[in-house]
């Protein structure tokens, strides 16, 4: 249910986008996502690719119940987030994106066909030896990994441990707002914090509740982009921490207030990251 909010300054463009988006999403879908082993030959340049991985633990750890079914951590927001994002990319940028996202394991032989891969909700992620090796090779070849939707110190530590096996000796850096990734298409002055739609309430802030995340969470109020760079200073991995960018894409049609306050910001970040990955 969309929370009510008496915002006076709604923008006409936002309304139009909302209506258009809702119509598109309500319309007949062509292909929800491609089969893991099949590539439909189209002229699209970019295939949004969600990485399937394993997580440790049981219920509420490796998987959780939501909206009537059990979800694995890797499939959070998938595929609706990618489908919505693909549409927005096609509408707003010069990138041609397949409307059907891919899902692949890191060990997939054709992983190299997706120079940009996306991982979500990595707080309980564990990678096998073969996955670690594959990801290391992928990144060394110029592949770009975007990790999203993990909050707090414990989940950060989980990612940090996994990536330490992939790229031993590398150090995470926090990207300043002056970094080109914040300015490739849109000028982003502040890194936005996007909560899951269920925790977005007018007047209660943007930080998700700590009980939803692995503890100790520590301070979750400051979103950031942290990154690994290669020896030439190029970004290899970015982690949007303490924010759920993909949820802003997934829930764009859940209400005007959410769209205006979170989806638009999610798209700005997403578009900048995509164009950055395609040009650096």
């Amino acid at each position: 249910m969309m929370p009510a909010h008496p915002t006076a300054g709604r923008k006409l463009t936002a309304r139009l986008l909302l209506v258009v988006g809702a119509l598109i999403l309500a319309g007949p879908t062509v292909a929800q996502f491609a089969d893991e082993d099949g590539i439909t030959q189209t002229n699209d340049e970019l295939w949004l690719t969600r990485i399937r991985y394993d997580s440790v633990g049981g219920p509420r750890q490796a998987y959780y119940h939501y909206d009537g079914r059990w979800w694995e951590r890797w499939e959070t927001d998938f595929p609706q987030a990618e489908q919505n994002f693909a549409k927005r990319l096609n509408e707003l940028t010069a990138v041609t994106v397949s409307p059907a996202p891919l899902r692949r394991r890191l060990t997939h032989p054709a992983l190299g066909d997706s120079p940009l891969i996306f991982m979500s909700d990595v707080g309980y992620m564990q990678l096998s030896k073969s996955e670690i090796d594959a990801l290391r090779t992928y990144l060394a070849n110029g592949g770009f990994l975007w990790v999203d939707d993990f909050w707090g110190d414990a989940e950060w530590a989980s990612l940090e441990r996994a990536m330490a096996d992939v790229l031993p000796g590398k150090r995470w850096i926090t990207l300043p707002i002056e970094h080109p990734i914040f300015h490739t298409v849109f000028d982003i002055e502040v890194m936005p914090q996007i909560p899951a739609r269920d925790y977005a309430r007018w007047g209660r802030g943007t930080t998700e509740p700590s009980f939803e995340h692995r503890r100790p969470t520590g301070n979750m109020s400051t979103p950031s982009i942290r990154a690994y760079t290669d020896d030439d200073g190029r970004l290899m991995v970015i982690a949007t921490h303490n924010t759920d960018i993909a949820d802003g894409w997934e829930r764009e049609s859940y209400g005007e207030w959410y769209f205006e306050n979170f989806s638009t910001k999610s798209y700005r970040v997403g578009i900048n990251v995509i164009v950055y990955a395609l040009s650096h």
């Binding site: 002229n43 010069a94 041609t96 032989p109 190029r234 650096h280």
Partner: protein
Amino acid sequence: MWFEWLFKYPREAYAQGELAFAGDFGVLWWGAVAVLLTLGVVFGRRVARFSMLQRATVYLLQIAAIAVLLTLIAEPVLEVTRLAPGANTVAVLVDSSQSMALPAGTNDETRMEVAKRLISDEIESASRGSEVALFHFGDALQQAGTVAEVQAEGDRSRLLESLTDLATHYDQGALATVIVVTDGAHNGGSVGWETLAETGIPVHSIGVGPADIPGDVELAELVLPSRASPHTQVAAHLVIRHSSRDADGKIRLRVLDGESVLAAESVTLDPSSPTIATDILFPVGGAGLREVTVALEAPPDDPLPGNNVQSALLDVDRERYRVLYLEGEPRWEFKFIRRATAEDDDIELVTWLRTTPRKTYRQGTSDPDELADGFPESLEALYGYDMVIIGSLPATSLNDEQHDWLARFVAERGGGLLAIAGRQALDNGGWDVKPMAQALPVTVARPSEYLSYRRGNYRVHPTDDGLRSVLTDIGGEESRERNWETLPMLADHQQLGTPKPGATVILEAFGGIERRGADVVVRGSPAKPLLVTQPYGYGRTAVLATASTWRWRMRTPPDDTRHSLFWRHLIRHFAGSALPRRRLSLAADGDALDVRVALKNPRFEPLTDTAVTVQVTPPDGESFEVALPRIAGESTFGETIPAATPGIYRVEMAGISGGAPQTEGGRPDALDSVNSHDVDMQVASGETPGVAAGRLGYPRDALAALARVGETNLEQFAATLNEPLLRRVAETTGGAYWRPDDLSGLADALAFSSAGIHERQQLPLWNAPFLFVLLVLLKCAEWSLRRYWGGGI
């Protein structure tokens, strides 16, 4: 021979002289006319019974005979001017270069021995009446006292210069004629043929030596670029001449740096093709000066093994290339081209990327104004790049003037142009418009609903031409073909038009490949052009019919460098054609250096209103400066500098003053609306590379050059008889070409030379046999006809 018997005098006399009559047309002559006419009337009665036609024929024959008799009575003469005896000089010029010590080809004599025999036995006697002055030439013209002292020792054959020197500066008498005895193996500098003709002295050339040396294999030409970047591959262009009779003959080529073998290759000698042109690639190694030697492994019976080796200097130093890449959509090919070139410090890639319908993104710019309006704002700004890459960008992104600039960029500036496939590239992007369509190596169809750019899986294979090209050298540990076969498949292809007549297909794509599980099934569709190139004006253009070479990076191990090398070689090759704005060229010419400097303004128009100074560093290291004057009638500056010490000379530009750029280009009209004022150009911090020199200077300027003086073996090369050159020398000067076995007409040709001191003579013709023969023939014909027609005698 028969001519002179019949007409009494040689052809030269008739060619030069005029016919006249020495007799007096007085009483005797008119009396003879009267007598002959009277006889004719009396005789006429005897043919009264003939028909009109028969009588007319007989009368005509009789009148002709009378005319011949009257001519004899009038004392015909040939008025000629011929050399005054004792007043003229005939210069005999003998080739004393080392090639004259080679066999003459007719018997056991050397060419020099044949020359000396001809001079002693025939030429001196043919020059009777004139003084004979003997000269010889190799490196330079020299006078000789006797024939015996002339030796074949010169390490050059400066034939044309020596002839010109002799004809121009001879001051020891009236020079009437020059006779040159040589094999014609000229290897000196160039002299204008007009200069030689203007001397007015006829040159009679006598060619000695064989037209062919059986079994000889010669490395006739070695062409290297003067500069190369460190750790790159360079193509040595070779021309091999041979007179091999062996249909299966193969010869081994080696490229050497001192004792180190840099490359080796075998070449087949085709008996039907005496000249073979080929390229051989070799790695240049690190920075420094190289003396690269190419050697043919001579067959054991090669009569001239000395012409199997040539050397050239190669200055291995950094050479920067500035490349502009215009891309209409963010895509992986863009990212990975940037990544490949980022590994090459000598390639400065400036990119302009359309990110949204109304936003663009620039990278690699050297200042905030660069590409601020999208396409370079002036012709000068465009000429600041060495190469332009156009990606998936509609042709309408450029206005008409900018299209014209791009074509001129290739044709006049010598830049490289590469068009990459894409949804909005080539025909899909409307690039069928002139003049760009003319510059591209394939025909570009008009845009249609049919999308020529499609996804699919394609293998790549170099063509035969491609395998000989540096563009297909992508490293790897296996053969070149195998290195391509094992590359990951491409993911797209754009159907190209027909390659143009001058185009070369370097790579082909084989489509129709599909996956079945882990297997790849090839359906065997015909090959499609993938990389096509062609020269255009001073520059080069190419079309790459794919935008998925990035797969070669993403689907190979991290240490696989084939993708990177492909793009680096491609860019270096096409950017390398760009002309420098300032070019210093240097050639060793015997014991002198020929220095040339060409300057252009930013629009690449010749710059002539300036002063140029160069610094010369000889082998002993004592540098000095030389001012170069402008060469008359040319837009270059040059000077010949003495270089007596053998060794390597370095000449570099020391100073240019004056001659500021002559023109400043105006800004083009505004670009299309997409690139207009409200375009949000982002210049992100950290995007500008540290090197800004490329924007201000021209990194490909050639400001220094090296040359080796001395220690040559030129006389081993092109050592056969060069009859066409000797014929041209003779024809240009009004002389004649003579074979050594037939100099019988030389004496008369010398006597009637057009130069020298002449005297006028009347040569009597009344006793020339042809007149009497004519008279007898006329009378015999008349008598025979009258007998036949039944008349009396």
